[in-house]
Amino acid sequence: METPHSTTHAPQGFWTKYLFSTDHKTIGIQYMITGLFMAAVGGFLAYVFRYNLAFPGESIPLFGQLDAMHYNAFVTNHGMIMVLFVGMPFLVSGLGNLLIPLMIGTDDMAFPTLNMMSFWIFLVSCLVMVAAFFVPGGAFGGGWTLYPPLSASGYVNRNPAFWSTFFSATPMFILGVALEFVSMLMGGINFLVTTINKRAEGMTPFKIPLIVWFLNIATLDFMVSVGPLVAGAVMLLLDNVVGTGFYDPARGGDPVLFQHLFWFFGHPEVYVLLLPALGVMGEIIPVFSRKPLFAYRTIIYLSLIAAVLSVVVWAHHQFIAGIDPRMATFFSIGTIIISIPFAGVFLSFMATLWGGSIRFTMPMIWALGFIGLFLIGGLTGLYLGSSTFDIYAHDTYFVVAHFHYTMFPVVFFGFFSAVYFWFPKFTGKHLNHTLGMIHFWLTFIPFNVTFFVLFFNGLAGQHRRVNEYSSFSNIMKEPYITFEKISTIGAIVLMVSQFIFLYNLFISLRKGRKAEKNPWDSNTLEWQADSPPVHGNFNPYPVVYHGPYEYSHPSSEQDFVPQDNPIVLKTN
């Protein structure tokens, strides 16, 4: 089973090179492009229902009137699409595929064909999600958490046609998510086996870059937590399609059981996305501070602790579901404890920045923006983790704002940091710096405009799943009506400014400055390969001598020491 140390020749035809490719770099880019497409879908849904919230009853530009049923469907699908069909392909599948083989110094994934298959299954799952909008009855509108009894009963957005059994809102939603899980599980097996088995000579566990560690911990967390939801989803599908009573109280079923199964996956999923994003920061911050990452080993241990804790905090999503108050105490404490390891990781980033010679490049700006925004998200999470406050704020826009202050930085700032950092490596071209800076400020400011005001609306009691508030006197007054409008305008600016990013990608690919091998003076192995890396990545395979973060080492002339540089560093 030894992999031959020679570069297999690259596939020549268009189909095998760009579409049915088994090359990890092509597959990673395919994941990211699919993720971008799904982000456009999810963003459009958000635009439509945000517009409806600010200007109820008015005709929405580019869409038209939005009725309550479609409002529900749009909110539901926005949630699921952004988490599972944008976050996962950007941060886990996309980054994992692009970076793991290059950073550990090997030619490809352990199972390239399986890798290709997991992408195609993922693409089918995206198509199923989007196709659901076009079946009669519309897409599923029972909330992205799929809670029974609503989702178990057959009538939510049911397709009235005779072929409705599987081609109806709920079954298609479940099917789309299930296929995504299959794809992710296959991809996850690939990541773990590749990292364990295919590392370059000398790449010992504590010479592996942080992001590879974090991607693998995230994958492991995903694989452990997703099983219960798969089982729960099968039962839900049978309840919906066949009419079994797994969640039907009249037949002894328990709807709260599904909530447990859902959140046993749903909460670790947050960390599955957070860890790769933190890993991106862990790569960018040392490079642009010209300092070693502070407490590298400690944050790996901390994130392992966090991964273990992440599977015992799930019921903090269910404080108002009638769970035992003693259980609520347990989960409150667990939730607050899990912030400690992540605070540790953040502290390490701060300490890395401290006294460094900081370079404000595009990736660095995005990374710093991530830290600032995620801090607000994390701190409001501490409030919500305590059941006494959560019972008051549950299902309000306070939760929505908190959630977006965590997930938006993770998914989009994480993604953009990574793109601005690794774009020269994978395309051989530099991105336009000015456009990148405009993009950053036109994302950072509108994001805060959109979501910061929602904290106040939430505390005033605005419920998140209502499409029209005219009968809620506590909300239908100033300043909350204005806040709604501010938030919507912010969201529209936020979405429009993403076209700058797309334009930048397009123009830089065509006319961008050519990128050298190692434009950021970075240590990790991917920067020692060509830009863009050839099929097979390295020739010959690199041998690793140093850890990934040897910046400004006193015994080296350069302020960086690539991992495969055989010079001896004196420690004193």
Binding site: V230, V234, T244
Partner: protein
């Protein structure tokens, strides 16, 4: 230096074997969750004992025997594969697949028997008199049904492996298929007492 040893010892596991083990972990978590859900309901409803009286210990026991036998034959197949005895390996693999076929046949007979008695996925007749009892049958069908699907998947996998291995290609895959087959067996070892013996 401790790092060095860790890295080397993990790398000695062939990557195919590592992949299958991770797949098995994923599968066991899915089935484990179903079993836990079933146990929670079973403890909540002692009246399910009436329903368990109707599951056929004979068919269940017969299938346990068949599956255990097939696990033995697949080990023999792997043993033959290691000794490069292709004819013997091929024979034992086909026996294993045949055992899977018997398992599915027995399962079908058992299902036909239960459905004939009115116990189906939703058990409409039972719902009128004992709606809680009907949910037991939903669990019975979902657990055994999902397991039977895995038996079928294992048979297909072994067949595909056999197509190559009988000609001496990719012989190491016999072990990987065998690992999966053992997992299917292991899951049954949990389902059998839970659904057929605990009455």
């Amino acid at each position: 230096m401790a790092e060095q040893t860790l890295s080397v010892s993990l790398k000695q596991v062939p990557q195919g074997r590592l992949g299958v083990w991770l797949l098995i972990v994923g599968e066991l978590i899915i089935f484990g969750s179903l079993v836990v859900c079933y146990l929670l309901y079973r403890l909540r409803f002692p009246s399910w004992v009436e329903q368990t009286q109707h599951t056929s210990t004979f068919y269940g026991g017969l299938n346990t025997f068949v599956l255990l036998t097939s696990s033995y034959t697949i080990v023999k197949a792997n043993d033959a594969a290691l000794k490069k005895d292709l004819a013997k390996m091929s024979r034992y693999m086909l026996t294993t697949i045949f055992c899977g076929l018997i398992f599915l046949a027995v399962k079908s007979t058992e299902y036909a028997h239960e459905i004939g008695a009115g116990f189906t996925l939703t058990s409409p007749g039972l719902q009128a008199t004992n709606p809680v009892g009907a949910t037991f049958w939903s669990f019975y069908y979902i657990m055994t049904g999902l397991h039977a699907t895995h038996v079928l998947a294992g048979m297909v996998t072994l067949f595909v492996v056999w197509l190559d291995a009988r000609k001496g290609r990719n012989i190491h895959r016999v072990e990987l298929g065998g690992l999966y087959w053992h997992m299917v067996d292991l899951i049954w070892i949990f389902l059998f007492p839970l659904l057929y013996i605990a009455k």
